[in-house]
C-alpha cells in the first residue's frame, strides 16, 4: 500500500490549471447577482419523497437574436439558412435530411445568421450561423481550405476555444466538435454543439467565446466574440401525471419541455439511481417516429442530504419537429449501472398535449 499512497500523492492539479479554475470560481462568486439564477432558480434541497410537485408555469417567449458585437445579424426565417443548418446537421448525424416545409420553418425559427470570424492556428474559422433552443447551442462553421494543409482540422482546433456565460462565468458543456467535411464550394464545414445542461439558455444570456487558456502566463485566453441570446420560440411544457410516473418508475419528474429541436426532462431521483432516457422518441400524427440524435444528462448533483439527486436530461432530435404534429412522446427510461450496463427499459406514453 505504500506504493499506492506515494503514487496517488503525485497526482494533483497543475498550478496553472488550479489558478485558472480558482479565478473562474472567484469571478462567479464576485458577481453581485446572477441573473441566470434569477430566471432559473436551483431547486431547493428537498427530500425525495416530497408531497407536492413543483410545476413552474412556462411561458414560451418568442424572441430574436439581439446582438453580436463585431458580427452582422441577418433576418430570421431565411430559407437558405435552413438549408445551411440542415447541411450542418447532416454532417453531425450522418443522416440525409429531407425536410418538409414545416421542418425548414422550425430550423428557421430557431436559427440566425452570424458573421463572426475567429482566427485559429489552422486558419480562419467563420461562425456563420447559430441554432439554439433552451438546451442546445449549435454553431456550424466553415473554414477556408489551405494549400499547405489539405484538411484544416486537427484536434487542437476543437480545443481552441472556451465557451462560457459572460455573467456567471459558467462554462458551457462542449458536446462535440464535428470534423469538417469538404464542401462543393471549396470550404470545409464543421460544427460545435454546446449545452448549458440544467442552467438552460435564456433571453439576454451573453455567450463568450475565448481563446483557450495558455497556462499560467495567460490563464484566460483572448476574448474573441460575444453572442447575446434570447430564449427560444415554440418550446412547450408537456402535461404528465407526475404522481403516477413517480409510482411507476420511482422518479419524481418536475418538468418535461418539448421544443422543435429537443426534449428536456427535469426532476429528482434517488441518489443511487443514474437515470437515462436516451431511447425516448416521438410518434407523429402520420405514424412517423422521430429518433434522438443525441442525448445526455446534466445537473446530476447530489444534494447535501445525500439522499436525492437533481437531474436534467435532454435529447436532441435527429431532425426538427413540428410541434403540432407530435402525437405521443415515448419516454423510455432506464437505470445506468456503474459498470455501464443498464436494466430493463421502462416505456411511458405521454400524449403530447401541452399545459
Amino acid at each position: 500500500m505504500k506504493t499506492y499512497k506515494t503514487m496517488y500523492s503525485q497526482i494533483y492539479l497543475e498550478d496553472g490549471k488550479k489558478q485558472e479554475i480558482l479565478q473562474t470560481l472567484l469571478q462567479q462568486e464576485a458577481a453581485p447577482e446572477n441573473p441566470r439564477q434569477r430566471k432559473s432558480p436551483l431547486k431547493k434541497e428537498e427530500p425525495f419523497n416530497r408531497n407536492s410537485i413543483g410545476m413552474p408555469a412556462y411561458i414560451a417567449i418568442f424572441f430574436c437574436l439581439i446582438l453580436l458585437p463585431g458580427a452582422t445579424i441577418f433576418a430570421m426565417g431565411n430559407p437558405a439558412l435552413a438549408e445551411r443548418i440542415s447541411t450542418a446537421f447532416e454532417s453531425l448525424f450522418h443522416t440525409q435530411q429531407d425536410l418538409s416545409d414545416g421542418q425548414k420553418e422550425a430550423y428557421a425559427q430557431h436559427s440566425q445568421e452570424l458573421d463572426q470570424l475567429l482566427q485559429t492556428e489552422n486558419g480562419t474559422l467563420h461562425l456563420d450561423s447559430i441554432l439554439y433552443d433552451e438546451r442546445y447551442l449549435f454553431l456550424p462553421f466553415t473554414m477556408d481550405s489551405r494549400i499547405d494543409s489539405p484538411l484544416p482540422y486537427t484536434p487542437s482546433l476543437a480545443s481552441d476555444f472556451d465557451f462560457y456565460f459572460a455573467d456567471s462565468q459558467l462554462p458551457l458543456s462542449s458536446v462535440a466538435a464535428k470534423d469538417p467535411l469538404p464542401q462543393e464550394d471549396g470550404h470545409w464545414l464543421g460544427s460545435y454543439l454546446l449545452t448549458a445542461e440544467e442552467e438552460g439558455f435564456h433571453e439576454g444570456d451573453v455567450i463568450c467565446i475565448r481563446q483557450k487558456s495558455q497556462g499560467e502566463q495567460n490563464p484566460q485566453g483572448e476574448l474573441l466574440a460575444k453572442v447575446t441570446l434570447p430564449p427560444v420560440p415554440g418550446s412547450q411544457d408537456i402535461s404528465f401525471p407526475a404522481e403516477q410516473l413517480k409510482e411507476a418508475i420511482g422518479l419524481q419528474i418536475d418538468k418535461i419541455t418539448l421544443s422543435p429541436l429537443s426534449l428536456g426532462i427535469n426532476g429528482i431521483s434517488p441518489a443511487k439511481d443514474m437515470r437515462i432516457f436516451c431511447n425516448s422518441y416521438l410518434e407523429l400524427q402520420d405514424g412517423t417516429m422521430v429518433r434522438p440524435g443525441l442525448s445526455g444528462s446534466g445537473g446530476a448533483y447530489d444534494s447535501s442530504s445525500f439522499k436525492s439527486t437533481d437531474f436534467s436530461y435532454h435529447i436532441l432530435w435527429e431532425t426538427p419537429v413540428e410541434l403540432d404534429q407530435v402525437k405521443i412522446i415515448h419516454l423510455v427510461t432506464n437505470v445506468m449501472n456503474e459498470d455501464g450496463t443498464t436494466g430493463e427499459d421502462h416505456e411511458i406514453l405521454l400524449p403530447a398535449r401541452t399545459e
Partner: protein, 169 residues
C-alpha cells in the same frame, strides 16, 4: 468576502482531493479538471452548510463521484467525440513501480478504483465509503476484496510477462 474566503480556503484544501477522486473514477484528466470546476461552482451556488469538516469533505467527494457518473454514462461520451479529446494523460511518477501500479489501476472498472482510492488513500472506513457511494458495507467490502484480487492478478501476470521477457532475452 467571507464566502470568497470560504471558497478559496476549501479550494486550496480540497481541489487536489476532488481531482484525484474524479481521476480515480473517470481516469480522464480533462474530465477530472472539469469536475473540479463544476464541484466548486456547485458549492458556490448551493452554499450548503455543513455540520463538520468531515461532512464538508464527504459532500465534495460525493458530488465529484456523482458528476463523474453523470458525464461517463451520458450519451455525449458514448456517441460523440468530446471537444477536448486528448491522448492518455502521462503522469511523471518518480518510480517505475508507481507508474506500473497506476497503469494497472486504469485497467480496473471505475467502481473498484474508487473504493480502493477512498479506502487506502483517503483512509475512509468501509462503513463511511458505503455512505458516500450509497452502497451497503457488504458491497463495499466485496468490491475492495475483488479489486485487491484483480490488482494481485495483474501484478502476478505482469511479473510473469517480465519473467518471460527475461527468458526470451
Amino acid at each position: 468576502m467571507e464566502t470568497n474566503s470560504r471558497v478559496e480556503k476549501l479550494f486550496e484544501q480540497y481541489a487536489d482531493m476532488v481531482y484525484r477522486t474524479a481521476l480515480s473514477y473517470g481516469k480522464d484528466p480533462h474530465l477530472a479538471e472539469d469536475v473540479v470546476q463544476e464541484v466548486f461552482l456547485r458549492l458556490i451556488k448551493k452554499n450548503p452548510q455543513f455540520e463538520s469538516p468531515a461532512h464538508e469533505k464527504a459532500w465534495l467527494i460525493r458530488v465529484a463521484v456523482n458528476r463523474c457518473k453523470s458525464l461517463l454514462v451520458s450519451g455525449w461520451r458514448k456517441r460523440m467525440r468530446p471537444l477536448d479529446e486528448a491522448p492518455e494523460h502521462a503522469i511523471p511518477f518518480e518510480r517505475e513501480e508507481e507508474h506500473q501500479m497506476y497503469e494497472m489501476l486504469l485497467q480496473l472498472p471505475p467502481k473498484y478504483r474508487i473504493v480502493l482510492y477512498l479506502r487506502y488513500y483517503e483512509q475512509y472506513q468501509v462503513k463511511e465509503i458505503a455512505g458516500l457511494l450509497h452502497l451497503t458495507p457488504n458491497a463495499v467490502s466485496a468490491r475492495l476484496s475483488r479489486a485487491k484480487k484483480m490488482m494481485k492478478l495483474e501484478l502476478t501476470e505482469d511479473f510473469q510477462r517480465k519473467e518471460m521477457c527475461h527468458e526470451n532475452i
